[in-house]
């Protein structure tokens, strides 16, 4: 066991181990654990063999429990005066028996705590293990000394019950934490995923990270695909939800593309990998989620600082308590009060609240294809007051659609076929609209030759023997080709309505005008409505013309928009919003609005794949994922609320429990039970995040309805196991 590097995640509960991790070899692999409880629970879960260490640990709890319960029973009978009736000579033998029974408990259950405390103590760190080890060893040592001196002040029962309670408490806590982040597991195991590889006619088991491009991989029903690639053989339904957020099952036949991370539901598939196992999209997502989990939010840092200060404070308080009471009370009673102070403080709960809530939130978002840079983003998102949208590709589909075709005495189909032929050579976004429109009408684009493209103007070339040009009105003016007055008037109207125009000319004059609009996404209106219901201001910021901005804003019910904004002007507008209204979330497509996304309090990119690492955005939504935006805000707020509730509880608990213990009003065993209960409360409270509703597939997600209710939470946990 050694102290691990920063940023490692606990193998069991997947929470950041934060430099205080312990490393252990389990089944020949090195694992990091954030605490002894997790180490325990991990081995229980993964121990399959008969001699697994897991079983051994449970035996430890059981056997330790057996002795501890016997100590407690004898002590109870001793206190109730059962043995006083019998000969006084029996009593010393009972005391000796207590010692005999308590010693194995200290070894079996106390050993790990003492070892843990020593490991950290060597590096000058004090943890909750320090408190437990110190408290129980002191109680045990004091009892042995008073036994040898012939006194009857024995606290073997206290020492053993403390250890039993703490061990069971930590075990339960670790199980709860693992359950909390279970949903994250498929997002973290990409490179370690086992796959069946075909090599020279033989099937071998390999980890994804050892698979090179071009390898043939066999995937059986129920297995996860470990590589990105094309199906070579077989047909099956697959579930890609983890990667794309797509909730439908997709049918894959030979030639179809499968992505790593998806689950094959029926029938086996033979897949040829086209990237190495470490370069799949899934592997990249995993690295991002890992990085996100390891990043600590400001609240998390604050809580950690408080937790690290709590332990020395408690040690001092315990010492002061003993000193204070030793004046008025016999020493053993003063020591008992000091012991209660030692074991009642709960730094674990303090350290647990923030990472649990963050991990649950990040995991929850990731499962719906929404990647977050870290807990700080979730925290910032929960404070957002304004949501600013970029237009193109965000609220609109970013794909021009032919809205009108005005001609001057020519056949519209002929015009479209000519235009499509020319635009085949162009990469402009409007070109795609022209080609799609032609295809939709069943027209074959005519072949074009000698095409020249003038950026920002248009293009010209020879189509079907005719000299054809397409582009802006300015381009036509520069070519010196006139626009008929009637056509110009109709074009002016379309322009005023916010359409993008393509002028098409041949034979020396403009003969057609194609009007495009960027269609608003089907889900945009619902999203805006939901945001407004959550009392957020919605603003449209676009570089487009006012006419376009006005049309889109009216269609979506956005009452504030700023048009014709150059990138610097967008930054200024953002700054303005932040000053007047509060934190701003900027939603863009992540392609050409990088600086703006980076400048916002939270930058959200819609549909820019999974390359968060290279993006300036803090959060990436899946391509068709705009509709989950309100849900994301719900999750962020719930995470923050849960975290605050947990922290408030832990602080109030520690303040109350420490005061009661210092005043001598709390039995040590009761104090230990309270302490274990406090951590469990944090775990259960955080688990409520699991019960948040999923985003509605389409339609309006109700912000308020999705929030869990405190009162009924407990009942629901019990039925869900």
């Amino acid at each position: 066991m050694a102290v691990a590097s920063e940023n490692a995640l606990c193998s069991h509960c997947l929470l950041p181990t934060d430099g205080t991790a312990t490393r252990r070899m389990v089944h020949g692999e090195s694992h990091h654990f954030c605490c002894y409880g997790c180490c325990l629970a991990f081995q229980v879960r993964h121990g399959i063999g008969e001699e697994s260490e897991a079983t051994w640990l449970l035996i430890r709890i059981g056997v330790g429990g057996f002795f501890a319960m016997n100590v407690m029973l004898l002590s109870l009978l001793l206190y109730s005066g059962t043995f006083e009736v019998a000969d006084q000579e029996v009593q010393p033998w009972i005391h000796l028996l207590l010692w005999l029974l308590a010693t194995p408990v200290l070894v079996v259950l106390g050993g790990p705590f003492i070892y843990d405390a020593w490991l950290h103590g060597r590096r000058g760190r004090l943890t909750s293990s320090t408190l437990i080890a110190l408290g129980t060893s002191a109680a045990y040592g004091y009892s042995v000394v008073s036994l040898l001196r012939g006194d009857d002040q024995l606290y073997f029962d206290t020492a053993t019950m403390l250890l039993l309670l703490f061990t069971v408490g930590r075990y339960l806590e670790a199980v709860g934490r693992a359950r909390a982040v279970r949903s994250l597991a498929p997002l973290l195991e990409a490179e370690g995923q086992w796959a069946t590889v075909l090599e020279g006619g033989r099937e071998l088991r390999r980890r994804a990270r050892e698979i090179a491009a071009g390898t043939l991989v066999r995937v059986r029903p129920g297995e996860r695909v470990a590589v990105d690639g094309l199906v070579r053989q077989g047909e099956a339904h697959v579930d890609e939800a983890v990667i794309t957020g797509e909730s439908r099952y997709l049918d894959k036949a030979p030639g179809a593309r499968v992505v790593a991370g998806s689950i094959v539901l029926d029938g086996p598939l033979l897949v040829r990998a086209d990237t190495a196992g470490t370069d799949t999209r899934w592997a990249r997502v995993c690295r991002l989620v890992r990085a996100a989990l390891a990043q600590r939010s400001p609240m998390h840092r604050l809580a950690d600082r408080a937790a690290s200060m709590l332990v020395p404070f408690v040690l001092v308080l315990a010492a002061a308590t003993v000193l204070f009471w030793s004046d008025a009370l016999p020493l053993e009673q003063a020591l008992l009060i000091g012991l209660a102070v030692l074991v009642v403080a709960c730094p674990c709960g303090l350290g647990l609240a923030a990472p649990m809530a963050d991990s649950l939130g990040i995991g929850r978002l990731a499962r719906h294809g929404c990647l977050v840079r870290g807990g700080a983003v979730v925290e910032a998102l929960s404070r957002v007051r304004v949501v600013a949208f970029d237009k193109t590709g965000t609220l609109t589909q970013g794909r021009p659609r032919l809205a009108a075709l005005e001609t001057d005495d020519v056949d519209p189909s002929e015009a479209l076929a000519l235009a499509a032929g020319l635009e085949l050579q162009s990469e402009h976004s409007l070109a795609r609209g022209v080609i799609e429109a032609a295809q939709a009408r069943g027209l074959r684009p005519q072949a074009a030759q000698a095409v020249t493209v003038v950026p920002g103007r248009g293009l010209r070339g020879t189509v079907a023997g005719r000299e054809v040009a397409a582009g802006s009105a300015r381009w036509m003016a520069e070519l010196g080709w006139p626009v008929p007055a009637d056509l110009a008037a109709r074009a002016g109207q379309l322009d005023g309505a916010g359409h993008s125009l393509v002028h098409l000319a041949w034979g020396g004059r403009v003969r057609a005008v194609l009007a495009f609009d960027d269609t608003v996404r089907a889900d945009a209106r619902d999203v805006i409505d939901a945001l407004r219901r959550a009392r957020l201001s919605v603003v449209l910021l676009t570089g487009d013309r006012p006419a376009v901005a006005e049309r889109v804003a009216a269609e979506l019910g956005i009452d504030q928009w700023h048009a014709e904004l150059a990138p610097e002007a967008k930054l200024a507008a953002l700054e303005d919003l932040r000053r007047n209204r509060g934190p701003v979330a900027m939603v863009g497509d992540g392609v050409n609005d990088g600086p703006v996304l980076a400048a916002a309090d939270v930058g959200l990119a819609v549909g820019s794949a999974t390359d968060l690492a290279r993006e300036t955005a803090d959060l990436v939504l899946p391509a068709e994922g705009l509709h989950i935006l309100p849900w994301i805000l719900v999750v962020a707020r719930a995470v923050r609320r849960t975290m605050l509730a947990s922290l408030l509880w832990v602080l109030a608990y520690n303040a109350a429990a420490l005061s009661l213990a210092a005043l001598g009003l709390l039995q040590p065993v009761l104090a230990a039970a309270l302490m274990a209960g406090s951590s469990l409360f944090v775990v259960l409270n955080s688990l409520r995040l699991e019960r948040l509703a999923d985003p509605a597939p389409v339609g309006a997600p109700e912000l308020r309805a999705a929030q869990p209710k405190m009162s009924s939470a407990k009942a629901r946990y019990q039925t869900s196991a």
Binding site: G47, T55, L58, I59, G62, F66, M69, L76, A721
Partner: protein, 235 residues
Amino acid sequence: MTGLNGLSSYLLIFVAGFAGSFHCVGMCGGFACALGHDPRGRPATVLRHLLYNSGRVTTYLFMGGLAGAAGQMAMDSMTSPLGGSLLTGQRLLTLAAGVLMVVMALQLFGLLQRAHAIGFAGSTLVLSLRSLLRAPGPTAPLAFGVINGFLPCPLVYAFVAQAASTADPLPAVLTMAAFGLGTFPAMLMMGGVGRMLQPIWRQRGVWIAGGFILLIGLITIARGVLPLASHGMGH
């Protein structure tokens, strides 16, 4: 002070435990079977099952002791503010325990819907038990028995309630000891003989146990309600 009088009460509990263990045979008996035979021969097998049952009964005793102490504490706290009215505290406690026993009895008869309390802790417990079943060596059965003892069981709860009503650790522990020893024969038998009993007999055992618990529960309630003269005082 005990819920019933002296030795006869423990005998009654022992018989109830014995009858009730046919209920155990259905549930925990499965575990006992799964613990199986030790390859090193009959003595080792017997040791294995003795350890398992000691672990189980130790847990019962422990719960009984705690219940007795808790009952004592509850009674003390109820009594002292009332200026020595020991009677009120004792009665309330006895009444509560009696009602709890009747409820458990009705559950055993299948007349009351059982609470589905297998939650977070329950699932953890089950997980733990499974991995212990196959472990070799003498310590695993002991640990298994200890954890097994905490499994939710209306029989155990009923007698823990009875133990609490005694409001004194010693009789509370003895109550659980009588019950635990009552379950011993059947559970030990399970280890060696396997599932010999027909389900119909197990069902009858459950009813008999329910009958006894109902009887003890009603007696306990009666002791809480009837005037002072009907039961001996002494604290």
